[in-house]
Structure formats: structure tokens, C-alpha cells
Symmetry: C2
Subunit: 439 residues, 2 copies
């Protein structure tokens, strides 16, 4: 639903939020968890321009009259746990957004008072440490890009790239929640078993085919009770918000371990997420239809089909991957963009993922993390991982530093970015999801 | 290490702990989480005979002098969270066990005082509700029985039942932590996509091939930090204890969904665990060598090989599965035993699972749950699931009620049991892991 919080003409009294190139204008208001060096316990905050507003401490000072309709939102913020905010009814999250939009607005009346009231809880983002948005309890990774699935399948089964279940099932698997880390955390190259020579026994050592995967993370809002599926018509209301997600993958470990129970240690060494969660409310102007199924594809089964989801269940987010190598940094070269793809090109919507995930009665918990799977598109420059971009290493990338890349080398830094644009609306961004490979 | 806590001659002043057929003699002392109807917040307790000693409330009353060497143990118990006990150094857990063994002992001196001191914290097990041992954050399921893997493989690939990686890798996958439930919780038959007719589109409906899997759960003790693997020589010290685990499986959903990323909704509708965790200390007399690898099998790679683990890293636990159907209950028939197998027949030891799981740097957290995978043995009566016992339904089981079973029907109740026996030692049991199928 579009309301005044999306009004592009609204400016903030936080000047940096009005800059044309900010990712965090007044219309975004993403939530995250931060701390200060002297006070390491994480608190919740909202990004506004280059500042962060401390919601946990602000909440402790608000009177019931001041909090008004946002009382439940601030009570959740007071816990310092984003899962408590995710667990709120969607209306309560919306009330919090409206409160913040008004409080940070450079409107005519009362701006001096509002500014004086909130300024003590405003900190420069440069002065705080960001944490993962919450201590994720459950992480599920989907495989929702048909372009990615087709590319990967084609490498292994040229005549039959897509498995027969793909167009019926939003394929997913349980990921490892403990090793989800926040953007900026170094990623150690994993050791593991690989079998480079299929005629010889496997060997144990550092992965040589280390890759990133460009994904979006979907944070679950209210959960469901075990045994009580979420119908597709209600699934939309269980989306709390989106972040960026890099599902680092060791392709050589994966190839040797994944039969018959799926990826395990090839993924669980690290999964990076961006620190800021862009709420579903903020994304309202950027919704779009589900991807049009190609002629001849089966319709989704009834439990995955909903008219509103088909017409508006997609998210129009543009996603980008940038790489810098150690040599590029030495040479002062800027990051090079490896790909650009669109979240709207997913074969399955987030609501379909939620309906499918709970269709067997599995319970989702507030703040659970769902990965979209690698977001690739139909063109070569929209391939969301090196496995696809270099076609298993057979087509190395040429970099401006004169280097080439088949897979990631030590010192390589991968940065994911995402943004939404639409005429008549402020551009909003996701910040970044960054990780550098440590040997 | 064997000490006085294993001395079979020690009797308890809790009379029921001295019964020949108790599963919880003074030598066992398993830990669990319970509540009373009027006080629903779970507390930690230890099972002794048919009683439970309330460790959380006892801890709050103990003076430092009384707690002595067990002070850290009781401080952890005071939290009511078994993860806090798992996180202790193993010596602190041992100190707690010794304290409890002495306090509950019917020794000559001071028994009246001890009994008077502890009796207020003793409750009949029949009067309390048991909970899952802790709110599991991560659950990983292994596939460590070569007999199970060979049987299942033979159904699908008769000429090549074991995949080439099996004898090198302790195969495992990430399971769903949120849907782990305690024994006694009804298990709803899941709905899901299946494709009974491979020439027709898939259908959505109740699973028709519902199965149990007889497993043991391994609770992780102290964890490790991300990026810091646990070497095989140290892995033993990261085992906190064992429980029973039933990895309920919908075989028809599994067959259609599992390619290429492994089992997902076919497993995540419910996983049952027994309420009592038998500590590693309690199991010390029942350790045994790792399974002897058949002639010609490769030796474990270096990171999975440790002499002490090979000679004593196994657990000699006998495991059993019992079934009652609705008709059997109507006819007053006792449960029928479907299988008996031995945990010592696993191809991989728990220490190897932990070393492998962390070899890529993945962090284990205190209280994480590792499933052994279905524990089957070399003989037909040692097959740990119906898929194997009925050979995919082709050899139905005949039951004393005149019924037959290929897979589980509504109303069927599956009970797992486990125990350890050795000459000169008290028999210790695991209690039960029970679940009834609700339609």
C-alpha cells in the first residue's frame, strides 16, 4: 500500500538523507543492528542518510503519548532483537515506519522540536559497527532462478539441463544458520575434500574453486505454528523485508560431497548478509508481477497459485556484483562490475517460497532467513556467480588489472549491491554485502 | 574415564533407582527439561529412578560451600537452558555428575541429611511435562550407517548401491531445527507434492509413504569459533551426550523433491527426540572401537583418522523400534518390535562427524544437534526404517493384529528405545522417543 511515507517530495531534517545519491532517503528507513566500540551489546537502529537513529535507546525514553500508534513497534525495538520486530503484526511495523517518517521529516510544523528530541539518538554510520540483522535460528536457501538452474544444469547435463521437478517445486534446502555473517566479515578459504582426479582417491586441502552467489535474503515476519501451513493467499503478509545475501560456495567441495543429500560443507563455511533490512513497506512502490512463465510451462499447482501474487508478488530490485582484487587495489583501480540482474526474473515469488516451505506443516519463526538462490537473468552479463560467468572456468574473465579470474583468489573482495528505481519515487538502496577472501 | 559414579554397587536413597529394570539408576543421571502444569517455564532436571530432581531450583538454594567443585555446573543449571550446560568445559560437567552421584547415594554417612536436603526438589516423573532438551539452533543429520546407505542405494541403483564418496565422507546435510519436537508430540501426516505417475503431472496431497528413521542424536558440547576447525584428536571432548531421534520421512515427497539439493519438506515436518540426554560421562563404560572397515575399504583421510577414536570412539548402544497400531491398541496387544540394531555398527564415529563438520571452518554451537542417520545393521532384523524393512513396500510386514504395513498409517505409534549393557555395570537406558501419526 502506498502512503505518505513513499512521497518523493518529503525531505528529512537529516541533510544527508536528501542527497541525490544516498541509498537511505526518508523513503527507505531500513532496520539493522549496530553497536559502539565502548558498548558492544547490539542495539536496533534505522538508517537515514549517513546516520543511524538508535531505536533501542530512543524507545526507552518515549512516553506512551509520544509513541502513539507505534507503541508496539518501539516496545519490540527496546529488546534490541530484530526478531521481536519481525514477530509484530504487519500493521505494527507500518505504524513504526509512519512514526519514523514523520519524526525525521523536515515538515513545516514542529521540525525544530522533532530534531531536538531525536538528535541525541543519532549517530554517524561511520562511527558504529554493524552486526548481522539478528541471530538467525533457521536459514533456508532456495534455487528460484530458472536461468541459474538452467545454466548450472547445462554444464552437467547438456541435453536435459532442468530437472523434471524444477517447474513444479520451489526447490530449496536447509542451510547453516550459525555461519551467517555480516557484510565485511573476512571469509576464510575453506578446507575440504575434493577429487580433482576421478581416477585417484580424494584429497583434503584448500578449496580451489571458490565462488560467490548473488542472492537476496528474505526475512520472515510472523511465523506459523508447527502443523499449520501458511496458505499462498496469506504468505505475502509473512514477508518482513529483504537484504542482500552472498551464499559463498566451494564448487570443488560441492561437486564431490553433494550426492545424495545436497550441499553441506561447500556452503556452511560462511554466508554473508548486508546489515540493513529493507522492509516490505519500503518496497511497496517497487512490486511487480511474478515472472511470466514461458509458453508451455505448467501453471503452479493450486497451493502455489494466487492471483494477487501472480500480478504483484514480485520485487523489482536491480542487483549487482563488483569485484576488486589485491592487484586492483594496489593499482588504485575501482571495483569492476561482474554482473547486473533483476530479482523480478525469479521463477518463484517469495510468497510461493513461504507457502511451499510451510505446506508440510513446517514452522517458520520470526526472522528466519530465506535465500532466493543465485539471481541470474537471461543474458550473459546477468549471471550471478563465477561458475556461470566463466562457464565452469572455461571462459576466464579478463580484469582491468591484466589479471584473469576463473574462481576467487585470496585477497579478492566481492561486493553485492541492490537498488530500486521508479519514476516519481525516490531511489532506495540496500547498502552493500561485502566479503574479502582470506587465505 | 571410569570413576566411582559407574560403580554398580552404589545404590540410591531414591528407591526406584535401585529397581533392576529402571532405565535411570544412579549410574545414569541423564539431563532434561521439564515443567509443572502450574509453572510452564521449563527447568532443568536429572532423572533418577521414576523421579526427577529439579536442578534449576536446587541450584538457586545451594551455597558455594555446598556446590563445591560443581559450582559452574549448578550456575549453568540455574539458567534453565541446557545449552548453558553443554557450553561448560567437560570437567565441569563431570564435577556436576560426581556431585549428583554422591548426593543421591545411599552411602553410610550423612544419607539422612542429604535426603532431607534434596527431597524438596524431587518430583515424580509422572507429574511433570517433558520438553525438548533445548531450543535447538542447528540440526545436522548424517548418514553414517553403511548398511542403511547400501540398502537404500540398492533399491535405486542395484549394480552400484554405494556412491563413490560414501567411504571417504561422513555424508550429512543441514536439517530443520525449528520442527524438532519432544517424544510424545503427535506427528501430523504432511501434505506435499508427489508424482505417483511419472507420466502425469505431480499432485499435492497427504504423503502416502510415511516412514520413521531410527537414529541417535548427538548433542554438541562446547562449540568452536567460525573458521577454527575442531581437529579429530579433540573432537571427542566436544560430545556432550546422546539422545534418541526419529527422523520422520515422507518417502514419496522425498523422491520427487530431493534432486539436486537434497531432502527438504520430506523431513522438516517433524523430528522427534527423547527428553533425556545421556551424558558422555555416563556412557564411558560402554565405549567401543569404531566399526572395523571391511577389507579393501580406504582408510579415513588424515583429518578423520585418530588412533584413540579408532580404538574407543564408538558407542555400544542397542537400539530398538516398536510399533503399535490403532487396532493393536483396541485388541490390547503389546507393541511389536520391528528391529534391533547397534550404534557401534556406524561407519563413522561421532568424533569423525564433528571433525568433518568443522573441517571447513563451520562453527558448531553448544547444544547443536547431530543426527547419526538411520542406524541399520547387517541383518534383516536390524533395518532401521520401513523403507528398508519392507524393501520399498514390496515385502509388507505382518502384524499380530492381522494387519500388514508397508508404510505408516494414521494412528500408528512408533517408539524408539535404547540401552547399554555390560557385565559388571548397571544397565542404563535412554527412555523413549515416541510419536503417533495424526491424520
Amino acid at each position: 500500500m502506498l502512503d505518505f511515507t513513499h512521497d518523493a517530495s518529503r525531505q528529512s531534517w537529516v541533510a544527508s538523507a536528501n542527497a541525490a545519491d544516498t541509498e537511505f532517503p526518508l523513503q527507505n528507513l531500513p532496520l539493522g543492528r549496530f553497536s559502539e566500540p565502548a558498548q558492544p551489546a547490539p542495539r536496533l537502529g534505522v538508517a537515514i542518510g549517513d546516520q543511524v537513529l538508535d531505536l533501542t535507546r530512543l524507545a526507552a525514553t518515549l512516553s506512551p503519548v509520544e509513541a502513539g500508534a507505534a507503541a508496539a513497534f518501539f516496545a519490540a525495538c527496546a529488546t534490541g532483537d530484530l526478531a521481536a520486530v519481525c514477530a509484530l503484526p504487519p500493521e505494527a511495523v507500518t505504524a513504526g515506519r509512519r512514526w519514523l517518517s514523520d519524526a525525521l521529516w523536515e515538515g513545516a510544523a514542529g521540525v525544530t522540536t522533532r530534531q531536538a528530541r531525536l538528535s541525541p539518538w543519532l549517530l554517524p554510520q561511520a562511527a558504529v559497527t554493524m552486526h548481522r540483522p539478528l541471530e538467525f535460528k533457521n536459514y533456508t536457501d532456495f534455487y528460484a532462478s530458472v536461468f541459474h538452474a538452467t545454466n548450472v544444469g547445462a554444464m552437467f547435463r547438456p541435453d536435459n539441463p532442468l530437472l523434471p521437478n524444477y517447474k513444479y517445486i520451489p526447490i530449496g534446502y536447509h542451510g547453516r544458520a550459525s555461519s551467517v555473517v555480516v557484510s565485511g566479515t573476512p571469509v576464510r578459504r575453506p578446507q575440504g575434500q575434493t577429487r580433482p582426479d576421478p581416477e585417484a582417491p580424494p584429497v583434503f586441502g584448500p578449496s580451489r574453486l571458490l565462488d560467490y552467489e548473488l542472492e537476496v535474503g528474505i526475512l520472515v515476519g510472523r511465523g506459523n505454528r508447527l502443523g499449520e501451513p501458511i496458505p499462498i493467499a496469506e504468505a505475502e503478509g509473512h514477508i518482513f523485508g529483504l537484504c542482500l545475501l552472498n551464499d559463498w560456495s566451494a564448487r570443488d567441495i560441492q561437486a564431490w560431497e553433494y550426492q545424495p543429500l545436497g550441499p553441506f560443507l561447500s556452503k556452511s563455511f560462511a554466508t554473508s548478509v548486508s546489515p540493513w533490512v529493507v522492509t516490505r513497506d519500503a518496497l511497496a512502490p517497487f512490486r511487480c508481477p511474478a515472472m511470466a512463465r514461458p509458453e508451455g510451462d505448467p501453471a503452479p499447482l493450486d497451493y502455489l497459485w494466487n492471483e494477487a501474487d501472480q500480478s504483484g508478488g514480485g520485487f523489482d530490485v536491480t542487483l549487482e556484483v563488483f569485484l576488486t582484487t589485491a592487484r586492483m587495489r594496489e593499482q588504485g583501480l575501482p571495483p569492476v562490475r561482474l554482473s547486473q540482474s533483476r530479482l523480478r526474473d525469479l521463477y518463484w515469488t517469495p510468497a510461493q517460497m513461504i507457502a511451499h516451505h510451510t505446506s508440510n506443516g513446517c514452522d517458520l519463526q520470526p526472522g528466519d532467513l530465506l535465500g532466493s538462490g543465485t539471481v541470474s537473468g537471461p543474458t550473459k552479463d546477468a549471471r550471478g556467480c563465477l561458475l556461470e560467468l566463466t562457464w565452469r572456468g572455461s571462459e576466464p574473465l579478463a580484469l582491468p588489472s591484466g589479471e584473469t579470474r576463473r574462481f576467487l583468489e585470496d585477497g579478492d573482495e566481492v561486493t553485492l549491491r541492490g537498488f530500486c528505481e521508479r519514476d516519481g519515487f525516490r531511489r532506495i538502496g540496500f547498502g552493500e554485502c561485502r566479503g574479502r577472501i582470506a587465505g
